[in-house]
């Protein structure tokens, strides 16, 4: 399909700067723009590509001021990134969607499957499972006994959901994710071996949650592990037993939260962050990449960072000196010599 700059500007409620009749049939990153493609500029870091791109149309923010001549037609809107997302989602929604129940899927007679679901090849659906309408379960998923999955949810291949766990509506779970495996709970026997604490809780995932590939969310030992509405978890994240993550918190890849920690709403947790168990992290906390959090964060809205996380500004200062520690040490030795010299002179005096 071909769209003109004018048509796109109308859909996006933006204004055209340049030729309104130029048309595009595909999109591309700005540094890879070709004739006939639409692109966008949001991160100022990429501004220089705007002056070289061969894309015919570029979406830019209203407040963007070019510093050189631009060949492409610009469409100005309040948020270029969001505008592109809107367009791409329109395209996405028009894509054909998988439907029907594959004859090889193994569905327990006691399971209830909603309307217009897709159940892929070799998927297994256990006893008393309930699946909502329009949900898609890709090939090879294992949905164990008593699980509930909401409506309009999408489970990609090889997802495992252990018994009795719940996944809400409008969720996306990527391939290989494991929901509801046993929490890591053991007690020492007198002979040094471990005694397994039964993990009889479950996992409750509310609506609009996205869970990345190979991410694991352990079931509670007693009571649930809870992932609240709108949470977004990237790939290879580990969530321990009885953790609770508040609404709209986002966590990047390879981060981990140990058991019973409660994370607030609207937090942003970068990649490779480890959060110890039994802590509370206040709402709106931001934690920088590669941080270890070993104490509760009680004041909302703070930014933390560091190998043992401390407020980011403090860490930045400490690290700035850390990098110059060898010089600092030399200076101390120099001081020592000078003082020795001073004292000697004093004695000579």
């Amino acid at each position: 399909m071909l769209f003109t700059a004018q048509q796109l500007a109308t859909v996006l409620k933006g204004t055209v700067e340049g030729d309104p009749s130029v048309s595009v049939h595909d999109y591309a990153k700005i540094e890879e723009g070709k004739p006939g493609t639409l692109s966008f500029l949001s991160n100022p870091k990429y501004e220089h590509y705007l002056y070289e791109t061969a894309a015919d149309i570029v979406l830019v923010n209203n407040d963007f001021k070019p510093t050189k001549p631009v060949k492409a037609t610009l469409i100005r809107i309040p948020n270029a990134y969001l505008a592109l997302a809107t367009l791409l989602q329109l395209v996405e929604q028009n894509k054909p969607r998988k439907t029907g129940i594959d004859p090889t899927a193994q569905i327990a007679s006691t399971a209830t499957i909603g309307k217009d679901c897709y159940i892929g090849a070799f998927a297994t659906i256990g006893d008393n499972v309930v699946i909502g309408d329009n949900t898609q379960i890709y090939a090879h998923c294992a949905i164990n006994d008593g699980v509930k999955v909401g409506s309009d949810t999408l489970l990609y291949n090889h997802v495992t959901i252990y018994q009795q766990c719940k996944v809400g509506d409008h969720c996306i779970v990527h391939a290989g994710a494991v929901i509801g495996a046993d929490g890591f709970g053991f007690a020492k026997n007198p002979d040094g071996s471990y005694f397994k604490m039964p993990q009889n809780g479950n996992v409750i995932i509310e609506d609009n949650v996205e869970i990345g590939a190979n991410t694991c969310i352990d079931r509670g030992s007693m009571g649930p592990t809870i992932i609240r509405q709108g949470v977004k978890l990237d790939n290879q994240i580990q969530i321990g037993h009885n953790v609770e993550i508040g609404n709209n918190t986002a966590m990047a890849a390879c981060s981990a939260v140990a058991g019973s920690t409660k994370i607030g709403k609207d937090c942003i947790i970068a990649g490779f962050v480890g959060i110890a168990g039994h802590l509370e992290i206040a709402d709106n906390t931001t934690i920088g990449a590669f941080s270890g959090v070993s104490k509760s964060i009680k004041t909302p809205g703070q930014v933390y960072h560091g190998a043992i996380a401390v407020p980011a500004m403090q860490n930045k200062k400490s690290f700035a000196v850390y990098r110059h520690l060898p010089d600092l040490q030399k200076e101390i030795y120099a001081l020592q010599k000078e003082i020795a010299l001073l004292k000697e002179q004093k004695n000579i005096d």
Copy 2:
């Protein structure tokens, strides 16, 4: 089922403090206790919940001294956590267990399956595989040629065991774990490309081992990778080729051990710990979360911690100063000024 405080105390060999006739039918965490539930108090951090909980019975350690009035009936035993575990395991053992061989499972004619096993839908069991009695293999597991799995072992969904690996008795392997993939061994060719070193060893997992979801244990390049009796590995752990982990060592989520390292018995390794290759870690070593271990630890019983792990007490001290490095630097500058002033005065004198 209803149990009275007196009945529970008799089973647990504890003493009742309060009404012995009060009865419970379920358990709950102490902060979520409701009438009719049993709870426990072990971590002193949660003591304040004891005075508020609506649970009717609470298990406490013999030496616990309440500092406020308690409404619940207490049962005193030596270890409240272990006592609860015992009760929960009794409940667990009475749960129905999956049995039978699903007709869709694909079992090689040369494989041997023990008595009373469960083999779930679409599981694949390769040539010459041997499975012990009472073992449960959930749907979608891939057990490759020549693998041996012991008795009373439980493999959850989507477990992969590569050819020739061995898993002992009474083990639990969680969903998505991969046992026996190739170790990461390459040699450089003269043109800069890599030459793959064949990985012809296997993995030997002894008895009573638990392996977390999506954890990977690589096969040895020559000879085995060995996980000794009673080892407990959490989720998303990576164990390199030819590693050996000693009896009853426990390792929390997201930790990794590089090739050929030998870890002793009874070690406790927290989450997000990286241990370099070709090291030896002594028995009874404890390594704190988010530590990198780049040298062997030869003295048993030590506690290590830190981004490059050093003994924990040393790290705590260094980190305490690290956080105040900017102040330290200012003090040095102040000293320099003072000395300059002293010298100047000397000259004036």
Copy 3:
């Protein structure tokens, strides 16, 4: 099969030192050598095993000089490690290889399968998939619509390849790897919830790439994520959307690269390394284990290391002082006292 030292030396173009007629039928690590086995010595750290091993033949480097008497027959070659690899590969190539298409595999009618492929039980091959010759796809793999897999490639169990991704020739993908899941891209809505950015790109994996177990490579949001020829990725690695990794770069387990970062050729990236998004890492860069890289590395051939990665030599120096920070602080306090004393004396003067 039995081979004499002379036969092996002829194949490897090496020279025999000791009895050329001694024969072996298996290989073993040098510390586990038994009569009838071949071993090798490459890492000088293991030299002491050479004098004790019961292996009958040991491959050593031409320049190796024993410091004690050696019982085993030695074969000298330029590179003992590579020589062993060559021998093991010969053995490997003679092993029987899986062939044929399992009747339970579900292959779309529009898919094209090359000659002499192996497709294991319950594998799913989607619409318009193209698989090259001699490729092996193990049981339970999910190859989604429009995927292309080259020739002589090997996919172990439970590999997921999302729609439209491409894998080259002579690749190996280990169990549980997920190729092409959505990148982690969201924009904030005014109400604090997240808006999912569609991820319409794909993943392109070129030839001779090896991908470890449970490793995830996300699809591009627009355009591809690219893994160039000869790249070797270990287990549990996370590659974000639109990342590009250059030829023959190797990355050890548990490392992660955030979105849009471009890594050069011939880099060596150790385990547990986190690389932030939108960076460029020059060719031939080496990054030590447990490092966080937050800035581009523009000069090729450097070695970086550290929790916030800085050039390795600088980090080594800083860390050496870091470990002695408490002493350093004491010295500063001592200096302060001395100066105070000096001043006092001055006043007394």
